[in-house]
């Protein structure tokens, strides 16, 4: 059996798949859709396929979708050529039958033990990259998971956080138990947050430098290149995949790169190195009649850097901030509740 060298934990709805859960109608529509009707974000499947090209890379998908959707979601991932190692869904029917209505919507009490259980079962401590979205509490759950792995959260603190996140007693006991079983290593190097709701990126600064909000998967690929996880050729393949959709063109990809540079999330040096290494893989582009020649692509990117006129990027947030998770989950709960109320009043 191949040794796991890196784990990639991916959310599904609003991270990989375009999903609408804003109303009951959306939920029913999503449940009845065929695999071929489900849409992934441009570049999402290309990125996961690229990640899986390296031996030892493990892809774990954790979704809040109900277990009843496993067949259709698995079929969708198969259609996209995604070779995953784990695929966990939420057993909401069980919650419903047991009358645990809080558990239907709760995020932290479901995702955190799921992540910890997977880590414990791994019996190893490889580095991890996590990807979620801005629709729910992914940034909080992932940071909490990372801090637990790093040994920064005591059992007492974890219990208080879980209570604040409206977890049931048995969920608290299980999660605290799992947290005590993990081998403590600071191994979560990167947390990517897909900005499905186009939330302001500054909202995520409090989570520290490892959390990077992204507008699209080209940005994800660039960050993972900077992290040494993807090669320039693989970044190019993600870009080509996106350029083959109607949503992206050369200028929007170049703008995405400029956005990361402005936010200080990649340096101009890294961008230059990427361009240089990508030029060696330019045969991938030059043979494609639907794409501009590589030189034109490189020029567009260089232009975006020049257009910044040497303006300094934003300062990076703290590397290791101490997060007040109790307040964070409280605030997230309130936000979600207000959003629901807003939708109800809007509907009435």
């Amino acid at each position: 059996m191949t040794e796991t060298t890196h784990v990639f934990r991916w959310d599904l709805d609003k991270t990989y798949l375009r999903s609408e859960f804003e109303s009951w109608r959306d939920l029913v529509k999503s449940a009845l859709e065929n695999a071929s009707d489900k849409q992934s974000y441009p570049g999402a499947s290309a990125l996961l396929r690229a990640l899986k090209q390296t031996e030892g890379h493990r892809i774990c998908i954790v979704s809040g979708s109900p277990t009843q959707m496993r067949r259709v979601l698995s079929a969708k991932l198969a259609l996209d050529g995604i070779d995953y190692d784990e695929f966990v869904l939420k057993n909401n029917l069980k919650n419903l039958v047991r009358g645990r209505f809080r558990a239907l919507r709760s995020q932290v009490p479901y995702k955190l033990p799921t992540l910890l259980e997977s880590r414990v079962a791994l019996h190893a401590t490889p580095p991890e990259t996590l990807c979620g979205d801005d629709a729910e509490a992914d940034a909080i759950v992932y940071c909490l998971y990372a801090d637990i792995l790093a040994g920064k959260v005591t059992s007492g603190d974890l219990e208080a956080i879980l209570r604040a996140s409206r977890a049931y007693d048995d969920q608290i006991a299980r999660t605290v138990g799992l947290a005590e079983q993990v081998v403590h290593r600071d191994t979560v190097g990167r947390i990517l947050i897909h900005l499905d709701l186009r939330s302001p990126t500054a909202r995520f600064a409090k989570f520290g430098a490892r959390v990077v909000p992204i507008y699209n998967y080209f940005q994800a690929a660039m960050i993972l290149y900077a992290d040494g996880v993807l090669s320039a050729r693989q970044v190019l393949f993600v870009a080509i995949d996106m350029l083959n959709t109607s949503e992206f063109e050369l200028s929007t990809l170049a703008n995405s790169a400029q956005d990361l540079i402005r936010r200080g999330r990649i340096s101009t040096d890294v961008a230059s190195r990427l361009a240089e290494e990508a030029s060696q893989a330019s045969d991938a582009v030059d043979g494609n009649p639907d794409l501009p020649p590589f030189d034109q692509i490189a020029d567009a990117f260089a232009d975006r850097v020049r257009q910044l006129g040497g303006a300094p990027p934003l300062e990076w947030p703290d590397e290791h901030p101490v997060l007040d998770y109790v307040n964070l989950v409280d605030a997230e709960y309130e936000t979600r509740r207000n959003r629901r109320r807003g939708r109800k009043s809007h509907a009435s």
Binding site: L195, L197, R198, S199, P200, T201, A202, A205, Y215, N216, F218, Q219, F248, E249, S251, T252, L253, A254, N255, S256, Q258, D259, R262, R263, R304, Q307, L308, G309, G310, A311, P312, P313, L314
Partner: protein, 347 residues
């Protein structure tokens, strides 16, 4: 994809309100790329605080700003790297399709005039303004009429006035979705022979050589009534008229504030009218319109009000996008070509 260049440093509350407005527009205009021209470091600090689409917004650095109170020609001479100059240059070089600015009006007009080409048959560009009126118009039930020229140039010949009428009508057809806008000349009487020589001559040309819905001359008091959808005048007259209209509105507001403070009975009366006043404010809210065009150039320029907040800027960008989608310049060109063909035939 449309490329809309935005002068991020122009306006009383720039760059903050301009950048926020552009950010808001990026979320709704899926076929547009917004190029924010200005201090890249300042813009880079504002963008992360607002929701936007990072793949459709780009920043283009410009090192200087023309402030609202600066003399246009002197400022442009002293600041060749001013944001409005760089922005107009980008459009002139074909790196952008249209320009939006809430900055110094004179400097904006001058920057465009020095870099952009006038359309064939246009001798002078015309700056338009919108004014809320009693009567409404078009499919959108638009409460705003268009007045041009309000100060791009001082004098206008009869042919200039006819050109302004053709351009203004084309714009109203697209933006207000008003298929037969009522076009009028601003004069000192409604009779055809009233007014200076060029207005009388323009009256004759508009009747004989255009197919516009020309309703003749109107007087100043007809502007707020909304008798015409497009009011045509020279830049000198238009500027005086629009400033006077703005002055009257401000005076009415000041008087209302005075009344509110002065007597309890007046205060009570104003309180009773408050919902009606609020409704009136909503109807005549210029922020919903966003901006008005500078017409006559080969490119689209929308001038937003200097006091524009983010909502007004976002709406000015939407108006620009609509003008590009509807190919405003090509439509104006077509109307002008038809007019000149008629003149040639008549001669």
């Amino acid at each position: 994809m449309q490329r809309i260049v935005v002068d991020a440093m122009g306006g009383d509350d720039a760059p903050e309100q301009v950048v926020k407005g552009a950010a808001e527009a990026s979320l709704t205009l899926s076929d547009s790329e917004l190029i924010l021209v200005g201090d890249a470091a300042a813009i880079g600090k504002i963008l992360p605080t607002v929701g936007h689409d990072g793949s459709r917004v780009r920043v283009h650095h410009a090192g200087a700003v023309v402030h609202m109170d600066e003399k246009p020609s002197e400022a442009l001479a002293a600041k060749p790297d001013a944001s409005i100059v760089v922005a107009a240059d980008l459009v002139a070089r074909g790196e952008g399709d249209a320009l939006v600015s809430a900055g110094n009006t004179g400097a904006s007009v001058l920057a465009c005039a020095r870099r952009w080409k006038l359309m064939a048959g246009v001798r002078r560009a015309a700056l338009a303004s919108v004014y809320p009126t009693e009567l409404r118009r078009g499919e959108r039930n638009d409460p705003f009429s268009l007045i041009l020229d309000v100060g791009a140039t001082i004098d206008a010949t009869a042919q200039d006035l006819v050109t302004f009428a053709l351009m203004g009508a084309a714009y109203a057809r697209i933006i207000s979705r008003n298929q037969r806008p009522r076009v009028a000349l601003l004069s000192n009487g409604s009779e055809a022979g009233k007014g200076p020589r060029e207005v009388v001559a323009a009256h004759d040309m508009l009747i004989k050589n255009t197919e516009l819905n020309f309703i003749g001359n109107i007087e100043g008091l007809d502007i707020p009534r909304g008798v015409a959808d497009v009011v045509v005048c020279s830049g000198y007259v238009g500027n005086v008229a629009i400033k006077m209209l703005e002055g009257v509105s401000e005076t009415v507001l000041r008087l209302a504030r005075y009344a509110y403070k002065e007597r309890l009975l007046w205060r009570a009366a104003l309180a009773m009218l408050s919902s009606g006043i609020e409704r009136l404010k909503q109807i005549t809210d210029w922020e919903q319109y966003g901006g008005a065009p500078l017409l006559g150039f080969d490119n689209v320029f929308i001038k937003a009000h200097g006091r524009s907040g983010s909502r007004a800027v976002a709406n000015a960008i939407r108006v620009t996008s609509k003008a590009l989608r509807s190919d405003l310049c090509a439509r104006i060109n077509k109307n002008l070509a038809e007019f000149h063909a008629r003149i040639d035939t008549a001669q």
